[in-house]
Assembly symmetry: C2
Homo-oligomer: 482 residues x 2
């Protein structure tokens, strides 16, 4: 009985009223965002431990006040995640709502026009550390839930809010948290407030990102650096050997030259979707004074998002100071990162790369390789997934344009962790834009983006809630199977 | 008349008596060497300016007291050289006598068993900074001249003592001094107290050294480092390009792969002389834990002394700190040194190397190359030169062994400067040995080496003085022509 009356109440308030409620309360919402931004929740620096605790307390309090249940901190040995749930929509899908409350360090402080933890409104923007990454979009998600519960007394779906505290430090305890609270976090899908919009004018939906594995290789050719006059011409030089190893990684046009790293050719659909995204490849390259280089069979945008990339991130050996020093380097080092694409198994390509590196290193040269970090697999959200279809409808209705499906060249470890451990697919629905100086001084978030998000998020939850949980799950399963 | 009586006096004291005089006064000679070693003449560090002046004063005083004329400081804008001449042997050859009074910095001080500027006798060695490099052998040369003048009242040859004060800082003003005092320094040949003996048991004569040219190359592929997720696969990576450039320098066995750097095949004589030097190539390589590598057509010793060598002394690009950083480096750098051999022209090979580097660097990559230092040509002392023949006789009589002609893998700029500017060939006749920790803590010089030098130097000057200046010059000219 309770459920039926409840269901009636849900229907009684039209989604437009929810959005309207949010938009008229923008000043209040900005004030609350500013209160959130004022808390210096820098996860990487123990000096900001107080700021982290303050942000946790702020969020716990807010989630409780908006009416979520089971509000708690989820501890995995590092900075806890903040959790809260609303399970009042039986039969409807259950969605994890992801955001993170930690921010990057504010350095260099002297480059900020206004202090990083004193949010300031200028030119329709709120300036503060974390405004764009990602307290602004996290606030949109939370305000949306709060508005549903306040105005309608119910959300259109069941929600499990999960706010991470270690996103800016590569999520060291995220796996532990998800494994420990697996039952609590079980859901049909996840919507993330993180993940910036790919374009400022065209609606886009992220449906993939590349994975990453990172290594450091070291070689040794002697037990010390020796004089190049005394030994030059007679012995191996570690810098020469490292150069030969690195030179073996790519062909003349910049394609990866290691057979075991070959990736599947992207599907025609994926190529068509990529072509649909307006992308000025020449401008993209020349903006940073770069020189285009890479597989000629693919467009620049395809190479960035649908093809693997192997980059030396750093290399060094011998004397690197001022002037000359006539030594033969005995050691040389390189850091490598490999971006993988869906269809590549991280372990398999890691092993293929290691095998190649050992094979090209001469047997009389000492070789060692270390993993850097844990890596992350490539992510792919099936384009027929109900979260994608819902987002498409919401964005096309809001903008009058058909959203373009895009993929990222970078890597988003959390999507892979939730997919691996919970079988949950993630739709990134953040409202940040690319130019908002995240991780840099004078980070900002646009108030127009706040309004756009406050309009889109309620409609997205409403759209997902039009399906039953069973319908959602069977659509998701079908989409996974392609 | 004066000259005739003088000549009579010269003949009156046998060379054995000169040597005997030196050997019985060894305690006095060691005392004077210790006084010289006590002066902290570190040329590279302005904090030691007082030590440099004290050493100059010490030498000026000594040269005057032993009876040299025209004693003076030769200023070329840096640390002055100390000069003094004795021109009392008309018709005999005139020899420059080279040494240097500056020493390396004593750091790390805490590693010295006894302080670097408090000379200490232990186990038949004198320990002090500069004992081996090269105040010990410089003292032998000066004591020899002093003994001739004291005991016989004359030297067998005309001498022009030239004691440099900047050898340890790459002789920045040596060219200026030699050019400015060209007339004062004109001579038929030079004997250097510098240049260590190649072997502790076998008498050797240095007849060559490799030249050196040094460069730093820089490439740029973008105007800033960019994110490897955002750009990976689409643009050039400076580390990759630098690796390909460096990898192009050598063939698979380590030989130089640049046609314009091909050196003339060494003569059969030079190869035979090289083979005559007892050299354990395997031990030489394994002593430093190195891996032998290089042109298979030549022995290790030949590769070290008769063949050019091209080494990367340092290379760097991108992130080289702790852990990973997913950047695409926009710049990369390498320092290169090329050791040249006689028959190679420094300018020609420099240009050939630069041409190759520019040619292998892709045209869309910014490339720059800077000379490091002024370089130095290869040095070759003709084996029929009268200084070599005199040294052979002296060393074979002293040791009962036929001296072996050796060549150095390193470079000795002063020999080339005097050859270029004055047409003067240099015989290196130093008595230091290879293991005396020069440029390191606890540098020492053996008192047995002091005695061997005090025996050999007078006999060498005597042997050269048996020839007239004309004979000496015509032999030198014939030797140069080969």
């Amino acid at each position: 009985m309770y459920l039926e009356s409840f269901s009636y109440q849900e229907d009684s308030v039209h989604i437009d009223a929810i959005v309207q409620d949010l938009l008229v309360r923008q000043d209040e919402i900005v004030d609350r965002l500013c209160a959130f931004l004022r808390l210096p929740s820098v996860s990487t620096d123990p000096a900001f431990a107080g700021g982290m605790l303050a942000a946790q307390t702020f969020l716990v309090d807010w989630l409780k006040r908006m009416g979520l249940d089971n509000v708690q901190l989820l501890d995995g040995g590092g900075h806890s995640a903040v959790y809260g749930a609303w399970n009042g929509a039986p039969g409807r899908p259950t969605l994890l709502i992801y955001g993170h409350y930690d921010v990057q360090p504010p350095d260099p402080l002297e480059a900020w026009i206004t202090p990083p933890f004193e949010p300031t409104l200028r030119d329709g923007r709120v300036y503060a550390r974390g405004a764009s990454d990602v307290k602004g979009s996290t606030a949109i998600a939370l305000e949306t839930i709060a508005a549903f519960l306040k105005v309608r007394g119910a959300c259109p779906v069941n929600v499990k809010v999960f706010l991470e505290g270690e996103e800016e430090t590569n999520s060291p305890s995220l796996r532990a948290i998800v494994e420990q609270y697996r039952d609590l976090l079980q859901a049909d899908g996840m919507i993330s407030a993180d993940g910036a919009r790919a374009h400022c004018e065209i609606p886009t939906i992220n449906v993939g990102s590349r994975g990453i594995v990172e290594f450091e290789i070291s070689i040794r050719t002697a037990n010390k650096d020796v004089h190049s006059g005394r030994y030059g011409g007679a012995i191996r030089n570690a810098a020469h050997e490292m150069a030969r190893i690195i030179a073996s990684l790519h062909d003349d046009v910049g394609g990866i030259a290691i057979p075991g790293l070959m990736a599947p050719i992207p599907s025609l659909d994926a190529r068509a979707e990529t072509a649909a995204f307006p992308f000025d490849a020449a401008a993209f390259v020349t903006d940073v004074g770069a020189r285009a280089h890479g597989e000629q069979a693919f467009s620049v945008r395809e190479r960035l998002t649908l093809r693997p990339a192997l980059d030396v991130n750093g290399m060094w050996g011998g004397y690197t100071g001022f002037g000359g020093k006539t030594v033969i380097p005995s050691t040389a080092h390189a850091k490598l990162s490999l971006r993988t694409v869906p269809g590549q198994d991280s372990d398999q390509v890691s092993n293929a790369l290691k095998t190649h590196l050992r094979a090209v290193c001469p047997p009389d040269v000492e070789f060692s390789i270390d993993d850097l970090g844990t890596g992350s697999g490539a992510f792919s959200l099936p384009t027929g997934h109900p979260l994608v279809l819902a987002a498409k409808k919401v964005l096309s209705e809001a903008t009058g344009q058909e959203p373009v499906l895009v993929r990222l060249g970078g890597s988003i470890p959390i999507t892979v962790i939730f997919q691996e451990l919970l079988g949950v697919q993630t739709l990134m629905f953040g409202f940040a834009l690319q130019d908002e100086d995240i991780h840099a001084p004078n980070e900002f978030f646009r108030l127009t983006s706040l309004a756009e998000g406050l309009s889109a998020w309620p409609r997205l939850l409403e759209k997902v809630g039009e399906q039953s949980a069973d319908e959602f799950r069977s659509m998701a399963t079908a989409a996974e199977k392609g």
